[in-house]
Amino acid sequence: MNPILNPAMNSALSGGAPVATPFFFYMLSGLAVIGGILVITRRNAVHSALALIVTLLSVAGLYLMLYAPFVAGVQIIVYAGGIMVLFLFVIMLVNIERASKDRRFNRIWPIGLVAACTLMGLFVSAFVKGRALFPDRGMALSEGSNTQEIAKALYGEVNRFGQYTFGQYTFAFEIASLLLLVAILGAVIMTKKKI
């Protein structure tokens, strides 16, 4: 039975489940999409940055709904608390009056829009045609009847993150730290006045 289209395996109302899950999903995803639209349409860069923060926080909320608390926490710390502060710093350093009076969209915006619409068409066709291709498992883990116990089992997986990070994914972890070191060095060197 296709879990995507089978309501019985997806009902959030059967026994002790989080209330109003569709409400939170639509609210958070609506906020995320509205934030995204505001990011790409505001003339003022600080407004775009604030809208991006709203998007990042709603995506963190969506991660919480997907039983991924650790990823949500990392998202808030790294993205909303680190990267966006960096962006706001840079916006304030390079903020010139001329930029806010310029036109918003660049010279080749029709081509960009056409390309994006093609991409959107690709996605829509992938979702419409490929709906039956999703394998027949998984969603029963989330919205079943014993949501509290399942949530406890899934939420307890923060320990397993550590086991994975230093077990199977140690190499990726080390490469990621090297990547961050290179990025730090690069950013420091590039912003020096005299190398």
Partner: protein, 428 residues
């Protein structure tokens, strides 16, 4: 209805753990009211304590011994004209204090006042705390930019650079405390705040005293970083500029400025609560494992009542020593009423403590709950007093000295402590 309330007073789960939104809302409202009262009290204590440190008296006129001064301040700030710079970005100017306030208050969702007295015991409690307190930086940056003037902008950038630098050291110190939780007999560590305190209970030692210098150094790093994180002296370059030239809240007047101050005090209380939970044993009374007998339990459960009785006695002495001119008559009456209130609370707590000794039902649970909250608040109050003491005693750091300490001193020490804690934890 009483059964309904009693069933929740007797539960062993937090409202978040039980999935009950109504009780979570009640807890949130209680915490909000409590933090507001604490901020008001903190304002008064700061002014009086700073004054006494500087051998003067502080506010004495508004209420007896200035007790109503914070209310007068709040009223004044509410009635002030709300000035918005004309070139400032209206929406961003309006939203900036809210971001700081939201970030400061959301941390209280995970702070445990007792083994089941938290709004929600998240599995990633510490991660949530670190993330949300890093959102407070955004409020400051945006406030400085929205003021559309040089000095707030530079002040805001400096303040946020300082906060971001000390967040790193703070996070590493927190991680070394988390490493200590994994040395439980059950072998798995936990990121949840209630779990951390229960780990301290299980291991029979506050983490500040574990592996002696290591816990203490980690606690020291966190204590210094939290002072820098909340922009308090001696790291208040960004704020003190507002006494000299400007700071990020220069252009804010009246109620908006008071929102910034509320956010700052709430953040101070929040990070102190984190420090207490992680290193000082949270809600546990001193020596819960060593002095385990019911007699010791009873003695320690008398402490809340005795503290309030002591405060009532101090207020009574103040009443007696009030000068006897007619101007002071109303102040004397006010202070006597205050002493009476404190005495009443003391009496109530003593009655509950004595009744809870022989009972084992709901009164005993109530007694336990009061004990937990009392020890927690006592430890946090010690930290609050330390904040004021630092402000009165130490000159402030220059900004480059501040950044140097954050990156060149705190970060290597906290990394070292983390590594050594992990090694020692594995060996022993």
């Amino acid at each position: 209805m009483p059964n309904f309330i009693m069933s929740y007073l007797g539960s062993t789960l937090t409202p978040g753990g039980a999935g009950n939104q109504f009780w979570a809302l009640i807890y949130v409202l209680i915490i909000f009211a409590g933090v507001s009262v604490a901020v008001i009290a903190m304002n008064w204590i700061e002014r009086k304590a700073l004054a006494h440190f500087q051998i003067r008296l502080g506010p004495m006129r508004v209420g007896p011994h200035g007790l109503l001064q914070p209310f007068a301040d709040a009223l004044k700030l509410m009635l002030k004209e709300d000035i918005i710079p004309s070139e400032a970005d209206q929406f961003v100017f309006w939203v900036a204090p809210l971001i700081g306030l939201l970030a400061a208050f959301t941390v209280y969702t995970v702070i445990p006042f007792g083994p089941s007295q938290a709004v929600s015991d998240m599995n990633i409690g510490i991660l949530f705390m670190l993330g949300v307190s890093s959102l407070g930086v955004l409020g400051i940056v945006v406030a400085g930019w929205a003021s559309n003037s040089h000095y707030p902008l530079i002040g805001a950038l400096r303040s946020s650079a300082q906060m971001v630098s000390y967040e790193v050291a703070m996070g590493l110190a927190v991680v070394s405390a988390i490493v200590m939780t994994s040395l439980n007999t059950s072998g798995t560590g936990t990121l949840s705040m209630i779990g951390i305190v229960q780990a301290q209970q299980q291991q029979g030692v506050w983490f500040i005293f574990k592996f002696f210098p290591l816990g203490f150094i980690a606690f020291g790093i966190f204590a210094i970083a939290m002072v820098a994180e909340t922009n308090r002296a001696p790291f208040d370059m960004a704020e003190a500029e507002s006494e000299l030239t400007a700071g990020y809240h220069t252009e804010y007047s009246g109620l908006r400025w008071s929102l910034f101050m509320l956010a700052e005090y709430a953040a101070m209380i929040a990070v102190s609560s984190i420090a207490v939970t992680l290193w000082l044993g949270g809600w546990m009374r001193p020596f819960p494992n060593l002095l385990h007998a019911p007699a010791w339990d009873f003695i320690f459960s008398l402490f809340p009542g005795l503290t309030f009785a002591g405060l009532a006695a101090i207020a009574l002495i103040g009443t007696v020593r009030m000068p006897s001119q007619s101007f002071f008559k109303i102040q004397r009456i006010g202070l006597a009423i205050f002493a009476g209130l404190l005495g009443l609370i003391a009496l109530l707590l003593l009655v509950v403590a004595v009744a809870g000794r022989s009972d084992s039902g709901i009164v005993a649970r109530f007694n336990d709950g009061i004990g937990y909250v009392y020890w927690f608040v006592l430890k946090v109050s010690v930290f609050m007093y330390l904040f004021i003491w630092y402000r009165a005693t130490w000159p402030r750091y220059r900004f480059d000295q501040l950044m140097k300490i954050g990156w060149k001193v705190m970060l290597p020490i906290s990394l070292g402590v983390l590594v050594v804690t992990a090694i020692v934890g594995v060996i022993f």
